[in-house]
Symmetry: C2
Subunit: 488 residues, 2 copies
C-alpha cells in the first residue's frame, strides 16, 4: 500500500512550513484564557462541580452578550429590510418603514442580498457624511471620502496594508500606544511592519505625552521608517478620554514629523466623566486652520459595535479618509473591491446609527429613552468599577472616563511572580487564570495589551448588568486579597 | 505660514511610497469597465442622451440585483432573528419561528448583535457538518473542521495566508486555473506568492487535463516552491462541471506531487447539463480509500452568495478543512480570532441554507417551489445563452454546464486588435468598452480572468431575467456583427 509512499507522506502544511508572520500574530482578547473559559462553561453544563455556578465573561466588549438590549428602532428597520413583506404590517412605526424603504431603494433589486458598491452603499455614505458634519459643528465631509467597512478592524487593517513597505531599516514603522488594543499588534505582525511602542502615562490617567511620542519616534528612526501614528480615543483598554489640547499637540507632532494619523474613535459616544468630552481628530484638525487641515493625512474609524448600540455581530463600520493622495485613494478603492463589499445588514445598521429617529418622528422618544438608559447605566458602572477596585489594597484603578473598560494596576507578590515565571507564564496571566479557575470570572491579563515592564494589570469590561458587576467586583476583591495572602 | 514648511510638505503616503504588493492587485470583475458603467448610469439618470435606455450589468454574479427573489423562508427567519418581538406574530410559520429560536439560543444574550465564536456559531457548524454528510452520502464530517467565513473570498484568502512563505526560489507557488476567478490572482499578488497558471482546455469544454497540470508544475518548480492547487468546480468563469474521474485524477496528482488542495465549490447547486452532476472533492477523496482520505490536505469552500439563494450581500460562507495538521489548525483558529467573527446574519443565513425546511414542515412546499423555480430558470437561461451566442459568426460558446457564467470566445479583427494595442488596451477590453458605450451592456473582458495568448473572450452572467437576457443576447449579436464589419 505504501509502495508509492503516499500513505506515509508528511503533511504539505505544517507548523514549520507555514507562513511565519501568521505564527507571530497574537490576540489576547480571545487567547488561552478565553479558551479555558469556554471549556469551563462546557464542564459546568456537563454537571461538573466548580467553585462557581457560571462563567462571567468580562474579557470582551460584547454588550448584547452581557444583556444589553438592542435599540428597538434599529432592529425594526433591519427586520423590515430583511423581509420587506413587513412593510404592510401596521404595527411597525412609519419612520422605521421609511428608513427601510430608503435603504432598500439603494440596494440592487431592492434586496439586502445584492452586493453593494465596494466602498459601501452611496446613500449610507451620504448619511455618514451628514452625521460627521453635525458631530463636528459643520466641518464639511464628502461622502466620497467615506468607506464602509466590516467593523472597524477591517478598516484599520486595510489602511495599514496601504502603508507598509520597505525592507530592513527602510521598513515601515507604525506607532501604537502601550497599552494597546491587540488588533494593532496582530495586524502589524501579519504585515511584517515594525511596531513602535509609545507608553501612555498611567500616573496622569493614561495621558498621551508628546515627549514620550518623541522618544519612541527618535529611537525607532534608528532601525525603521516610522510613517504612521495610531491613537485610540476614548482609550481601549485604558478608558481615558483625550483633551482637546492633547489632540492638537498630537496633530502638530504628526505634521512636524510627517506621520500618517489613524484615529480609532469607535467609542465616541462612550464618555462618562463630567470633566471630559469627545473631540474628533478631524474637528480639531480643521480648527487648526488650513496649514494643518489641508495637509495632515488622517483616517478616522467608527463602528456599530460599541457606543450605545453594541451591535458587534453585524460587523458594521466606516472610515473617513482625509487628505489622502488621489492615486492612493484609487488604490484603496481597488483593494476593497477584491472583497466585493462589506456585509449589507451591517451597512444598513451603520446608516441607522448615523441617522437615528429625529424629533417629531414616532420612534424618537423611545429611541432617546433606550439610548439614555444604556449610556447612563454604563456611566454608573464606570464609577462603580473604579470605586470598588480602589478599595482593594494592591489594586489601583484610574477613572474610567470613557470606552468600556477598566485597566487597573495590580500588585503581584514576588512569590507569585516566581511561580508564574517558573511555569513560563506571564505573572498577570497566572493571576487571571487562577481568578478564572476559582471564581469563573474571565478577564484579560495586561500583558496581552502591553504594559511597562514590572507592572501588571488586567482589562475588565464594565458591561455586565449592575448586580452582576457588583458580584464580580466583590469576587475580584476577595480573590485578590486571598491571592496576596497566599503568596506573601 | 510655510515657515516650518508644513503647508507645502509632501504627502506621507503616495503612489510611490505605498505598499507595492497592493499596487499589483487587479480585480477585473469590478474594474474600469464597471466604473464606466456606473458613470453611464449616472449620466442616464441626469437625462443625458445615450443609444440605450438602461445599463444591464452582466458583469457580476449578483442574482438579486438582477431581479431574482430571495427565498421567503430564509428572509422570514432573518426578520425574526433581527427583531425577536415578531416571534409573537401569528402570521409567521412555526418552522421559521423554531429555526429563529434555535439560532438566537446560540447567540450570546439571545441577540445577533453579540460576537460569535471566531470559528462561527457552534450550532451552525453542527448543521453544516450534517449537511455535508447528507451531501456526501454519509462521509463523516466533524463540526470542529468547519469554519464560518465572511463569504467564500474571506476563507480562500485566509487559507492562502497560511500557506505562503519562503523567498526567491523557495517562495510558495499556488496553481490556479486559467481562466480563473480574479480573487485568486489578487490574493496571490497581495501575499507576494507565485501564481502558477494551468490552462483549462477550451476545446474539450474547459476540461482540466492532468498533463497540463504536470507541465505547469514542472515549469514552476524551476523558480518557486509549488505547494497548493486551486480548483473551481463548477467553474467560474468557464461554467464547466468536472467529472468524477477528473476529480479523482486531480486528487491522485495532488497526492503524488504533495500539493495542498483548495476546492472552490460555491456553485455546488448550480448544475444544469443533464450529463453532469456535482461531485464534491471530499466525497471523491473518501471514496478513494484511506491511502488518500487519511493524507491529502483539502479545504472546500461554500457560500450563501450563489446557488439558488444568491444572498451575496450577507457575506456568509463556510470552509471545511480536511487532514489539516493540528498545530496549523490552531494557528488558523488564532488568526481568525483577530477579526473577532464573521457577520452573524450571514452565519444565520448559512445555517438556513444547510438546514432548509424539511418534508412535513409548513414552509417546505413553498421553499421547494421557489428553489426549483430559480434553478429551472437558470438552467433555461444557460441553454439560451449558449444557443444564441453560437448563432453568431465569430463567437463560439461552450455549454454552460453549471455556475452562472458563459465565457465565449470571440474573434476580434486584426484592425481592432491594432487600434486597441495602439491605445494601450487589451483587445477584449476595447471590445467590451465599445459594447458598453453602444448598448449599455456591461460584461467583463476575458483578459481579466486570463486566457491563452491570442484568444479573446468575455464573461457574461446568465442572471438577467429571461426577457432581458434575450434582449441582451440579441444586442451582443448585433454589436458583434457591426463591430466585425467595422474593423474588417
Amino acid at each position: 500500500m505504501s509502495e508509492n509512499g503516499v500513505s506515509s507522506r508528511a503533511k504539505v502544511l505544517t507548523i514549520d512550513t507555514m507562513n511565519p508572520t501568521v505564527k507571530k500574530v497574537e490576540y489576547a482578547v480571545r487567547g488561552p484564557i478565553v479558551q479555558r473559559a469556554l471549556e469551563l462553561e462546557r464542564e459546568l453544563s456537563q454537571g461538573m462541580k466548580k467553585p462557581f455556578v457560571e462563567v462571567i465573561k468580562a474579557n470582551i466588549g460584547d454588550a448584547h452578550a452581557m444583556g444589553q438590549q438592542p435599540i428597538t428602532f434599529f432592529r425594526q428597520v433591519l427586520a423590515l429590510c430583511s423581509y420587506p413583506e413587513l412593510l404592510n404590517d401596521t404595527t411597525f412605526p412609519e419612520d422605521a418603514k421609511s428608513r427601510a424603504r430608503r435603504i432598500l431603494q439603494s440596494c440592487g433589486g431592492y434586496s439586502m442580498g445584492s452586493y453593494s458598491a465596494s466602498q459601501g452603499i452611496e446613500s449610507v455614505r451620504q448619511d455618514v457624511a451628514r452625521y460627521i458634519e453635525r458631530r463636528d459643528d459643520g466641518v464639511p465631509c464628502d461622502p466620497d471620502d467615506i468607506y464602509l467597512t466590516t467593523g472597524a478592524s477591517d478598516g484599520i487593517v486595510t489602511v495599514l496594508k496601504l502603508l507598509v513597505c520597505g525592507e530592513g531599516a527602510a521598513r515601515t514603522g507604525v506607532m501604537i500606544s502601550i497599552p494597546q488594543y491587540p488588533l494593532y499588534s496582530a495586524a502589524l505582525a501579519e504585515l511584517s511592519a515594525v511596531q513602535i511602542n509609545y507608553y501612555l502615562n498611567e500616573e496622569t490617567c493614561w495621558s498621551m505625552d508628546i515627549s514620550e511620542l518623541q522618544r519612541a519616534l527618535d529611537e525607532a528612526r534608528r532601525h525603521c521608517n516610522p510613517r504612521a501614528l495610531c491613537i485610540i480615543n476614548p482609550g481601549n483598554p485604558t478608558g481615558q478620554v483625550q483633551s482637546r489640547q492633547c489632540i492638537e499637540d498630537v496633530i502638530r507632532f504628526a505634521a512636524k514629523e510627517r506621520l500618517f494619523l489613524m484615529a480609532d474613535e469607535v467609542y465616541q459616544d462612550n464618555v462618562y466623566a463630567d470633566s471630559c468630552k469627545f473631540h474628533s481628530f478631524k474637528k480639531v484638525l480643521f480648527d487648526m486652520g488650513p496649514e494643518y487641515s489641508n495637509t495632515v493625512e488622517l483616517v478616522s474609524f467608527h463602528s456599530t459595535s460599541k457606543c450605545y448600540m453594541g451591535e458587534c455581530g453585524f460587523r458594521g463600520g466606516y472610515m473617513e479618509i482625509i487628505n489622502m493622495d488621489d492615486e492612493v485613494k484609487a488604490q484603496l478603492t481597488k483593494l476593497v473591491s477584491v472583497r466585493l463589499c462589506p456585509p449589507v445588514p451591517g451597512q444598513a445598521l451603520m446608516d441607522l446609527v448615523v441617522n437615528p429617529p429625529q424629533t417629531g418622528e414616532p420612534s424618537y422618544d423611545k429611541f432617546i429613552k433606550e439610548r439614555t438608559a444604556t449610556l447612563s447605566a454604563l456611566a454608573e458602572k464606570a464609577t462603580l468599577t473604579e470605586q470598588v477596585l480602589n478599595t482593594v489594597q494592591g489594586i489601583s484603578c484610574n477613572p474610567v472616563q470613557g470606552a468600556m473598560y477598566s485597566f487597573p494596576r495590580i500588585t503581584i507578590p514576588e512569590k507569585a511572580i516566581k511561580e508564574a515565571t517558573d511555569n513560563g507564564q506571564q505573572p498577570d496571566m497566572f493571576y487571571c487564570m487562577k481568578l478564572l479557575e476559582e471564581t469563573g470570572i474571565c478577564l484579560v491579563p495586561g500583558s496581552g495589551f502591553g504594559q511597562k515592564d514590572g507592572t501588571y494589570h488586567f482589562r475588565m469590561t464594565i458591561l455586565p448588568p449592575k448586580d452582576k458587576l457588583t458580584i464580580l467586583l466583590n469576587k475580584v476583591k476577595e480573590f485578590h486579597q486571598k491571592f496576596t495572602q497566599q503568596y506573601s
